[in-house]
Structure formats: C-alpha cells, structure tokens
Amino acid sequence: MVRATADNAARGRIGGYDPPSVGLAVIRIGPVLMLVVVVTVISFLSPVFLTTRNVGNVLGQTAAIAVLALAQLMVILTRGIDLSVGSTLALSAVVGAMVFESVQSGPIVILAMLATGTAVGAVNGALYVYGRLPHPFIVTLATLSAARGLALWLSGGQPHRGMPDIVQALGGGLLGWLPYSTFLVAGLALLTLLLTTRLVWGRWIYAVGGNPEGARRAAIPVKGVLISVYVLSGLAAGVAGVITAGRLNAGSPTFGELAELDAIAAVVIGGASFLGGRGNVANALVGALMIGVIRNGMNLLNVDAFLQPIVIGVVILIAVELDVIRGRLEERFRVIQAVRS
C-alpha cells in the first residue's frame, strides 16, 4: 500500500497523494458529490422527494434540458456556444403541431420537427463557419431571435393544441413509474458517449476545442467539425421539441424560453470547462439533473419561486470557481512535474 502510493507519486500520476493530485481528483468528482449532497439534503427535508412518483416527475421534467445539454456539451467542447436552442425547440414544436393539423401521421410530424431543428442548426453552423465570424455567440443570438419570431409568426402567437399519440408518449408516457423520455435521454446519452469517446469525429471535436489552429495544422477538417456540432445541437433542439410538445400535447411559440441557458448551465455545473476541450457526457447529465433536482426540491419545500434562479446562479458560480481552482492546481501539478523530471 505504502509502496503503491510512493510509486504513484514518483510517476506523477493523478491519483498519487500529493496535494494538487488529490485536489484535482476531488474537483473531477466534485459535481457528482454536489448532486449527492443536494439529493441527500432534500430527501431528508421532504419525505415525498424520493418516492418513485416524484423521481419519475423530476426525470420527465429534466429530459428536454438533458437532451439540449448533451448537444450543448459538444458545442462547448469546440469552444462554441449555441444560444438558439430554446427558440429552435419552440419553432420545431410549432411546426410539429401545424403539420399534425394537416397530416395525421406521427412519424411525419416527428420528422418535420427534427428537420426543423436540424435546419436551424445547419444555418447556425454555416453562418458561423462560412461567414468567418469570430465567435458563434452573435450568430446563435440572431437565430435565437429569428427562430422565436418565426415560431410566433407561424403560430399566430397562439399555442396549437394536439400532438400525435407517439409524440405524447415520448413526452409524457410512463413505463411503470419511469417516463419514456428517460429512456430516450439514456439512448441519446449513449450515442453521444460513443461519438465523443470512440469515433474519430469525437476525437476531432476535442482536438478542435483544445487547439483550433493546431487542429488545422494537423489536417483535421475543422470547418466540418464545427458545422457538425451546431447541426447536432439543432437536431437536439428538435428532439427536445418533441419531448416538450408531447408532454404538454401542444406546440406553442413560448416553449423553451431560456432553455438555452439551462442547457449551458447544465454543462458548466456538470464540470465541463466553458473554455472548451474538456468535459464529458456525465458532466452534461449530472448538470441537467442538478438543475432538475434543485427546482423540484424547492417546489416540494415550498421555497419562494423567485429564490430558484438565485440558487441556480449560486451553483453556476460554484462550478465556475471549481474550474478556476482546477486551473491553479494544474499549474502547481506542472511545477511538481518539472521539479521531478
């Protein structure tokens, strides 16, 4: 045991027992720890919290954020941001509802919704890359506005009621006490995990985020990678549109307001770096759950609704501060490495 420790330390492994290594390990599991603490505290304060019914409720409410967060993760990994996903969600829900009014086919409605999201994503990606804009913030801010406006215009500003059965099932159906949407999220999380960790494309996403100019010099198709993450983010907004529209059995131009901020917050709270290049699927899921659990817990505890955004804001600050501390610890770690070598 002692030997193993000394060996690890000598090899400078994270997981050796020098203070920066321990600190880095703690920070890495920090978000999960935070989630466990929050869940534990709320479950002590509210007997209802851990009932199957409420857990299903939390999962159902979190599904759309989780889907958006999975895609936002990939965008943020490339040092980007997609502000348009909330509006895109609404647009795809409105399009879905209106298609359903003329075509009574579940698959066609779903296809229309996914295509709508993907189209907005493609516009984002193409404008960002071929418009040679310095940062996707402005492009996606523009589509945030335009997609919402389009949703309002198409719908006449009114919610359109009615969604196909399959959409309703995906958004609100239960298998036992687990929402179908939970399985959808799990499946998409698995796909995202495979893409980011097993495929060459995923490796390129990390490379582009780690060093865009280096990626170009390494002959990685940087433009294609960038466009792809915005297309996937748009597609995810379409899926989130299906979930939301199904849950509420309607398509409304007011859906998904500020959902983009939830998605971004989830990624950051979960422990991915806002500066790009670092983060994984677990980060996105843990962050989305954290937001869902805090909202649900505060409702159960009858905390003033106005306090919720403040608490979430504090959690975001904690997460960002952890990222800063991580940077400092890594600096110390490098010094230790240099001294040892």
């Binding site: 495929l199 494309w201 490796r203 390494a218």
Partner: protein, 264 residues
C-alpha cells in the same frame, strides 16, 4: 549500426539529392514582404540552423514549407522531385513534420492522442474517416515505443499534455514530429521556453533524429545551441538569405554580426 554502416549511410546522404530544396521563395502579407527570393537546401543526416533577428521571415519560411501558408512564388523539391505543399495534410504525406514555435499541441489530450491527431488509427476502412472507430491500443503502444526510443520520459502516458512541464511538452512535440517524419523535421525555436536541463534533453533528441537520418531545420536564437548541434548555419534578414557559415567557434562573431546586420 556499425561504424562502417554509419559512414556508408552518410555517403549515401551526400550523393543523394537533398531531402529539401527551396528556390526563389517569396511571400507577402499585404504590404509586408516576409520572404524575398529565399533559397534553402537540407540533406539527410544534416542539421541546418536558420538564424535571423525577429521579423526576418524564418517562421514564415517554415510555415510555407509545412503547408500552413503558401509561397507567392518559388519552387520546392523533395529528394529531387518537384512538389507543391498546398496544405498541412500534403506536407504530412510528403514526410515533412514541424514543431511550431507556438507548439500546436493539444493540452486537453494525452500523448497518444496528440501524436495521432488528424491521422488516427481507426477502422473499418470502408467507413468515412470521421465515422471510424478509434483503435486506441495500437496508437498508445506506438506512442510509448517512440517515446522510449527517443528516451522521452513521461510519468504517465494517460496524463493530458497540459499537465506536463514545459520540457516534457516540448519533448512530446519533437517526438511526435520524429515519429511521423520520413524526410524533414522542422523545429521553430524548440528550446526558447526551456530551462538548461530541459533544453539539453531537446538538443539530445534533435541529435538522435539526425543520427537516424532525418534532414533537420532548426530555428534558434540560442547561439550556444546552434554552435553545438548545427552542421550549417544560414542567416536571414528582411526576407532574404544574407549568409551561410559552418558553425565553428572562430565563425561565431561573424554569424552574430550577420544576424544583427552590423555590416549594413
């Protein structure tokens, strides 16, 4: 390798066409003439030091050779064959590997991922490249082999490069170039950010690459390093070649005055 084989190899290098020849290279950035008719020749088993004050055009020259920029005019030959280095990808396939001044490492990836960035080992082959499944095992093994061969000590091959010291990072960058270069290794100020001990390692690494038969171009401001490792020193000023010397102690002052342009 025996001494005799060593000599034979060197002779073969002398007789063969140079690994890299650049002729009449020009490059402008707007009104700035970064390269103004530059010639350059490097042979296998030779270390060429590219010297010159800041802004002389050294980085521009090597960036053109490695496909980051393109020459406005001029020609490039590799092993006597005319080539057009139109992109970094082309440079790679031509066997030119570059260690850039600004490193171009991926701090968020481990050494193996850095080595293979943009040329990942993956399959199956019938899929488009991006959709192939990474074969991590072979990449990690090869990386470990190369690092061992070049005696680059890395604490843990799974640590991201960003957690390594400056010297280790530079060594990784040089080893990456060494692993894939079949013709020319270019290094832009490889010891600039390093301490004495770390510089020593990188210099030894460069000499090992030379002994393996690579043609090496190294940009450096450290005259001691140039004197020690270079077989030939060429000096640039304002986008032109202004002199070529054999780096010997008695030439040192001459080289320095060529760099600073004292004879203007």
């Amino acid at each position: 390798m025996t001494a005799a084989a060593d000599v034979r190899m060197t002779q073969a290098h002398m007789n063969a066409p140079p690994a890299l020849t650049v002729r009449g290279a020009t490059k402008r950035f707007g009104a700035v003439v970064a390269l103004d008719g530059v010639d350059l020749t490097v042979r296998r088993g030779e270390v060429l030091a590219l010297l010159g004050d800041n802004g002389a055009g050294k980085s521009t020259l090597i960036k053109c050779v490695s496909g980051v920029h393109r020459f406005d005019s001029g020609s490039v030959e590799m092993n006597g064959v005319p080539v057009e280095v139109t992109s970094p990808a082309v440079a790679r396939t031509l066997g030119i590997e570059t260690v850039y001044q600004d490193l171009a490492l991926f701090d968020n990836l481990d050494p193996a991922a850095n080595f293979y960035a943009g040329r990942e080992t993956a399959g199956p082959r019938w899929l488009p490249r991006g959709l192939r499944v990474l074969r991590r095992g072979p990449m990690v093994e090869t990386t470990a082999d190369v690092l061992k061969r070049l005696q680059v000590g890395v604490a843990d091959a799974r640590t991201t490069v960003g957690l390594m010291s400056g010297g280790q990072r530079q060594a990784i960058a040089v080893a990456r170039a060494a692993a894939f270069a079949t013709n020319v290794v270019i290094l832009d100020e490889p010891t600039a950010a390093l301490g004495v001990r770390e510089s020593r390692r990188v210099l030894d690494l460069i000499l090992r690459l030379r002994d393996e038969g690579h043609a090496i171009v190294v940009i450096s401001h450290a005259m001691d390093h140039v004197m020690e490792i270079a077989d030939k020193a060429v000096v640039m000023r304002r986008g032109r070649m202004v002199g070529e010397e054999i780096p010997r102690p008695e030439n040192r002052q001459k080289i320095v005055s060529l760099i600073v342009g004292g004879d203007d």
